[in-house]
Symmetry: C2
Subunit: 126 residues, 2 copies
DNA sequence: CCGTCAGTACGAGTCAAGTCGAACTTAGCA
DNA sequence: TGCTAAGTTCGACTTGACTCGTACTGACGG
Protein backbone atom coordinates (compact mmCIF):
# COMPACT_ATOMS: atom_id res chain seq x y z
CA UNK A 1 0.00 0.00 0.00
CA UNK A 2 2.47 2.64 1.09
CA UNK A 3 5.81 3.05 -0.63
CA UNK A 4 6.91 -0.45 -1.49
CA UNK A 5 10.60 -0.93 -0.98
CA UNK A 6 11.96 -4.40 -0.92
CA UNK A 7 12.03 -5.81 2.56
CA UNK A 8 15.15 -7.85 2.19
CA UNK A 9 14.80 -11.55 2.88
CA UNK A 10 16.79 -12.69 5.88
CA UNK A 11 18.32 -16.13 5.52
CA UNK A 12 18.61 -18.01 8.80
CA UNK A 13 21.85 -17.99 10.72
CA UNK A 14 22.56 -14.33 10.16
CA UNK A 15 25.06 -12.60 12.39
CA UNK A 16 23.38 -10.54 15.07
CA UNK A 17 22.75 -6.90 14.17
CA UNK A 18 25.00 -4.34 15.81
CA UNK A 19 23.35 -2.34 18.61
CA UNK A 20 20.45 -0.24 17.31
CA UNK A 21 17.39 1.47 18.77
CA UNK A 22 14.28 -0.75 18.79
CA UNK A 23 11.37 0.24 16.55
CA UNK A 24 9.37 1.69 19.37
CA UNK A 25 12.13 4.06 20.33
CA UNK A 26 12.80 5.58 16.93
CA UNK A 27 12.70 9.35 17.27
CA UNK A 28 11.68 11.49 14.35
CA UNK A 29 14.12 14.28 15.20
CA UNK A 30 17.02 11.83 15.28
CA UNK A 31 16.06 10.19 12.02
CA UNK A 32 15.61 13.53 10.29
CA UNK A 33 18.93 14.70 11.68
CA UNK A 34 20.66 11.62 10.36
CA UNK A 35 19.15 12.25 6.93
CA UNK A 36 19.97 15.95 6.79
CA UNK A 37 23.25 15.48 4.99
CA UNK A 38 23.79 14.91 1.26
CA UNK A 39 26.32 12.17 1.88
CA UNK A 40 24.02 10.18 4.13
CA UNK A 41 21.04 10.77 1.89
CA UNK A 42 23.13 9.33 -0.92
CA UNK A 43 23.93 6.25 1.10
CA UNK A 44 20.36 5.56 2.13
CA UNK A 45 18.96 6.29 -1.31
CA UNK A 46 21.39 3.95 -2.98
CA UNK A 47 20.60 1.24 -0.47
CA UNK A 48 16.92 1.70 -1.29
CA UNK A 49 17.19 1.84 -5.05
CA UNK A 50 20.25 -0.14 -6.01
CA UNK A 51 20.13 -2.98 -3.55
CA UNK A 52 19.70 -5.92 -5.84
CA UNK A 53 20.40 -8.69 -3.44
CA UNK A 54 21.09 -8.22 0.19
CA UNK A 55 22.90 -5.69 2.30
CA UNK A 56 26.08 -3.98 1.29
CA UNK A 57 29.51 -3.38 2.67
CA UNK A 58 30.83 0.14 3.14
CA UNK A 59 33.13 -0.01 0.17
CA UNK A 60 30.34 -1.12 -2.13
CA UNK A 61 29.36 2.54 -2.29
CA UNK A 62 32.74 3.63 -3.59
CA UNK A 63 32.57 6.84 -1.62
CA UNK A 64 35.69 8.95 -1.92
CA UNK A 65 36.24 9.62 1.76
CA UNK A 66 38.73 8.24 4.25
CA UNK A 67 37.65 5.10 6.02
CA UNK A 68 37.27 6.76 9.38
CA UNK A 69 34.83 9.28 7.95
CA UNK A 70 32.68 6.52 6.51
CA UNK A 71 32.66 4.69 9.81
CA UNK A 72 31.37 7.87 11.38
CA UNK A 73 28.44 8.26 8.97
CA UNK A 74 27.43 4.61 8.89
CA UNK A 75 27.42 4.61 12.64
CA UNK A 76 25.30 7.76 12.74
CA UNK A 77 22.74 6.17 10.44
CA UNK A 78 22.62 3.02 12.50
CA UNK A 79 22.36 4.81 15.84
CA UNK A 80 19.50 6.92 14.54
CA UNK A 81 17.74 3.72 13.51
CA UNK A 82 17.86 4.30 9.79
CA UNK A 83 20.06 1.34 8.93
CA UNK A 84 20.88 -2.06 10.36
CA UNK A 85 24.42 -3.36 10.28
CA UNK A 86 25.69 -6.90 10.49
CA UNK A 87 29.21 -8.19 10.69
CA UNK A 88 30.18 -10.72 8.02
CA UNK A 89 33.73 -11.71 8.72
CA UNK A 90 35.65 -8.57 8.05
CA UNK A 91 32.85 -6.73 6.32
CA UNK A 92 30.17 -4.76 8.08
CA UNK A 93 27.16 -4.60 5.82
CA UNK A 94 24.28 -2.16 5.93
CA UNK A 95 20.66 -2.27 4.96
CA UNK A 96 17.82 0.18 5.44
CA UNK A 97 15.30 -0.74 8.13
CA UNK A 98 12.48 -0.51 5.63
CA UNK A 99 9.79 -2.23 7.66
CA UNK A 100 10.52 -0.32 10.84
CA UNK A 101 10.71 3.05 9.15
CA UNK A 102 7.55 2.48 7.14
CA UNK A 103 5.76 1.49 10.30
CA UNK A 104 6.83 4.49 12.33
CA UNK A 105 7.28 7.18 9.67
CA UNK A 106 5.23 6.22 6.62
CA UNK A 107 6.20 8.09 3.51
CA UNK A 108 9.63 9.09 4.72
CA UNK A 109 11.56 6.59 2.64
CA UNK A 110 9.68 7.66 -0.49
CA UNK A 111 11.04 11.16 0.05
CA UNK A 112 14.57 9.83 0.38
CA UNK A 113 14.19 7.72 -2.74
CA UNK A 114 12.97 10.72 -4.71
CA UNK A 115 15.84 12.90 -3.55
CA UNK A 116 18.57 13.97 -5.94
CA UNK A 117 21.81 15.67 -5.01
CA UNK A 118 22.10 19.38 -5.60
CA UNK A 119 23.05 20.02 -9.24
CA UNK A 120 26.06 22.17 -8.41
CA UNK A 121 27.29 19.84 -5.67
CA UNK A 122 30.89 18.76 -6.06
CA UNK A 123 30.12 15.05 -6.09
CA UNK A 124 30.09 14.03 -2.44
CA UNK A 125 29.48 10.55 -3.85
CA UNK A 126 31.84 8.55 -6.03
CA UNK B 1 -5.84 13.54 -1.44
CA UNK B 2 -2.63 13.54 0.52
CA UNK B 3 -2.51 14.76 4.11
CA UNK B 4 -4.98 17.61 4.23
CA UNK B 5 -3.74 20.53 6.26
CA UNK B 6 -5.51 23.80 6.00
CA UNK B 7 -4.04 25.95 3.29
CA UNK B 8 -4.61 29.24 4.97
CA UNK B 9 -6.66 31.76 3.01
CA UNK B 10 -4.73 34.86 2.05
CA UNK B 11 -6.70 38.07 2.16
CA UNK B 12 -5.57 40.62 -0.43
CA UNK B 13 -3.18 43.36 0.53
CA UNK B 14 -0.97 41.17 2.65
CA UNK B 15 2.50 42.40 3.53
CA UNK B 16 5.14 40.79 1.35
CA UNK B 17 6.72 37.61 2.76
CA UNK B 18 10.23 37.90 4.09
CA UNK B 19 12.92 36.42 1.86
CA UNK B 20 12.48 32.68 1.43
CA UNK B 21 13.60 29.99 -1.01
CA UNK B 22 11.18 29.48 -3.91
CA UNK B 23 9.33 26.18 -4.15
CA UNK B 24 11.57 24.82 -6.86
CA UNK B 25 14.66 25.33 -4.76
CA UNK B 26 13.52 23.61 -1.59
CA UNK B 27 16.18 21.10 -0.60
CA UNK B 28 15.26 17.98 1.31
CA UNK B 29 18.45 17.98 3.37
CA UNK B 30 17.83 21.57 4.49
CA UNK B 31 14.22 20.94 5.37
CA UNK B 32 15.07 17.80 7.31
CA UNK B 33 17.85 19.62 9.09
CA UNK B 34 15.49 22.41 10.08
CA UNK B 35 13.07 19.84 11.46
CA UNK B 36 15.64 17.81 13.37
CA UNK B 37 15.15 19.66 16.62
CA UNK B 38 12.41 19.15 19.20
CA UNK B 39 11.87 22.87 19.62
CA UNK B 40 11.38 23.49 15.92
CA UNK B 41 9.25 20.38 15.52
CA UNK B 42 7.07 21.78 18.28
CA UNK B 43 6.72 25.08 16.47
CA UNK B 44 5.81 23.57 13.12
CA UNK B 45 3.49 21.02 14.63
CA UNK B 46 1.59 23.64 16.58
CA UNK B 47 1.29 25.78 13.50
CA UNK B 48 -0.16 22.81 11.68
CA UNK B 49 -2.56 21.63 14.33
CA UNK B 50 -3.52 24.65 16.39
CA UNK B 51 -3.73 27.33 13.74
CA UNK B 52 -7.35 28.26 13.93
CA UNK B 53 -7.33 31.41 11.94
CA UNK B 54 -4.28 32.75 10.19
CA UNK B 55 -0.62 32.95 10.92
CA UNK B 56 0.86 33.51 14.34
CA UNK B 57 3.33 35.82 15.98
CA UNK B 58 6.36 34.44 17.76
CA UNK B 59 5.00 35.06 21.21
CA UNK B 60 1.77 33.21 20.43
CA UNK B 61 3.73 30.04 21.12
CA UNK B 62 4.62 31.07 24.64
CA UNK B 63 8.01 29.42 24.33
CA UNK B 64 10.18 29.93 27.36
CA UNK B 65 13.33 31.09 25.61
CA UNK B 66 14.94 34.47 25.23
CA UNK B 67 13.76 36.48 22.26
CA UNK B 68 17.01 36.25 20.41
CA UNK B 69 16.91 32.47 20.54
CA UNK B 70 13.44 32.43 19.05
CA UNK B 71 14.50 34.75 16.27
CA UNK B 72 17.24 32.26 15.48
CA UNK B 73 14.89 29.30 15.15
CA UNK B 74 12.13 31.08 13.27
CA UNK B 75 14.71 32.35 10.85
CA UNK B 76 16.14 28.85 10.41
CA UNK B 77 12.69 27.50 9.60
CA UNK B 78 12.01 30.26 7.11
CA UNK B 79 15.38 29.99 5.39
CA UNK B 80 14.95 26.24 4.99
CA UNK B 81 11.59 26.93 3.36
CA UNK B 82 9.44 25.36 6.05
CA UNK B 83 7.63 28.51 7.10
CA UNK B 84 6.65 31.83 5.57
CA UNK B 85 6.90 35.01 7.61
CA UNK B 86 5.13 38.31 7.12
CA UNK B 87 5.55 41.55 8.98
CA UNK B 88 2.39 43.01 10.47
CA UNK B 89 3.38 46.26 12.06
CA UNK B 90 5.54 45.15 14.92
CA UNK B 91 4.66 41.50 14.75
CA UNK B 92 6.28 38.99 12.48
CA UNK B 93 3.87 36.14 11.93
CA UNK B 94 4.64 32.66 10.73
CA UNK B 95 2.74 30.02 8.84
CA UNK B 96 3.75 26.67 7.43
CA UNK B 97 4.20 26.57 3.64
CA UNK B 98 1.72 23.73 3.40
CA UNK B 99 1.11 23.84 -0.34
CA UNK B 100 4.77 24.09 -1.24
CA UNK B 101 5.86 21.35 1.13
CA UNK B 102 3.09 19.01 0.07
CA UNK B 103 4.03 19.57 -3.54
CA UNK B 104 7.73 18.91 -3.09
CA UNK B 105 7.78 16.47 -0.16
CA UNK B 106 4.40 14.78 0.07
CA UNK B 107 3.82 13.09 3.39
CA UNK B 108 6.41 15.04 5.29
CA UNK B 109 3.98 17.30 7.12
CA UNK B 110 1.93 14.31 8.21
CA UNK B 111 5.02 13.00 9.98
CA UNK B 112 5.51 16.31 11.75
CA UNK B 113 1.87 16.43 12.79
CA UNK B 114 2.09 12.94 14.23
CA UNK B 115 5.24 13.72 16.17
CA UNK B 116 5.17 13.97 19.95
CA UNK B 117 7.97 15.24 22.16
CA UNK B 118 10.05 12.70 24.00
CA UNK B 119 8.30 11.68 27.22
CA UNK B 120 11.23 12.45 29.46
CA UNK B 121 12.03 15.75 27.76
CA UNK B 122 12.23 18.67 30.13
CA UNK B 123 9.59 20.71 28.34
CA UNK B 124 11.44 22.57 25.65
CA UNK B 125 8.04 24.09 24.91
CA UNK B 126 5.99 26.25 27.25
C1' DC C 1 7.84 63.42 21.33
C1' DC C 2 8.56 59.98 24.28
C1' DG C 3 7.74 55.48 26.24
C1' DT C 4 6.48 50.71 25.26
C1' DC C 5 6.53 46.51 22.96
C1' DA C 6 7.82 42.89 19.13
C1' DG C 7 11.35 41.50 17.23
C1' DT C 8 16.22 41.93 15.07
C1' DA C 9 21.36 42.34 15.05
C1' DC C 10 25.55 41.56 16.97
C1' DG C 11 28.89 39.29 19.53
C1' DA C 12 30.71 35.84 22.74
C1' DG C 13 30.82 31.43 24.84
C1' DT C 14 29.93 26.60 24.52
C1' DC C 15 29.33 22.30 22.57
C1' DA C 16 28.51 18.80 19.09
C1' DA C 17 29.42 17.37 14.36
C1' DG C 18 32.25 16.61 10.61
C1' DT C 19 36.99 15.62 8.74
C1' DC C 20 40.95 13.21 8.66
C1' DG C 21 45.57 10.76 9.71
C1' DA C 22 47.57 7.19 12.14
C1' DA C 23 47.54 3.17 14.82
C1' DC C 24 44.97 -0.87 16.00
C1' DT C 25 41.92 -5.29 15.38
C1' DT C 26 40.54 -9.26 13.18
C1' DA C 27 39.28 -12.73 9.24
C1' DG C 28 40.91 -15.10 5.64
C1' DC C 29 44.48 -16.88 3.02
C1' DA C 30 48.81 -18.27 1.42
C1' DT D 1 53.34 -17.35 10.65
C1' DG D 2 52.88 -13.58 8.49
C1' DC D 3 50.49 -10.59 4.85
C1' DT D 4 46.57 -8.20 3.29
C1' DA D 5 42.17 -6.01 3.47
C1' DA D 6 37.88 -4.07 5.88
C1' DG D 7 36.80 -1.56 9.18
C1' DT D 8 37.28 0.55 14.02
C1' DT D 9 39.23 3.57 17.54
C1' DC D 10 41.54 7.50 19.06
C1' DG D 11 42.85 12.09 19.11
C1' DA D 12 43.24 16.69 17.03
C1' DC D 13 41.44 20.21 14.38
C1' DT D 14 37.88 23.02 12.24
C1' DT D 15 33.40 24.46 11.52
C1' DG D 16 28.97 25.34 12.41
C1' DA D 17 24.85 25.15 15.59
C1' DC D 18 22.72 26.64 19.71
C1' DT D 19 22.21 29.90 23.60
C1' DC D 20 21.89 34.13 25.48
C1' DG D 21 22.75 39.14 27.07
C1' DT D 22 22.78 43.51 25.41
C1' DA D 23 21.94 47.02 22.31
C1' DC D 24 19.29 48.44 18.50
C1' DT D 25 15.06 49.39 15.19
C1' DG D 26 10.64 50.60 14.08
C1' DA D 27 5.40 50.81 14.91
C1' DC D 28 1.99 52.37 17.77
C1' DG D 29 -0.33 55.00 21.59
C1' DG D 30 -0.54 58.42 24.60
Amino acid sequence: MSAAFKVLPEPPGLPEPLPEPPVGELRLEEVLGALSSPLRLTIVRRLLLESEEFDHSCQWFGLDRPKSSLTHHFKALREAGVTRQRQYGLERRSQVRVEDLNARFPGLLALVAAWTPEPGALSPEL
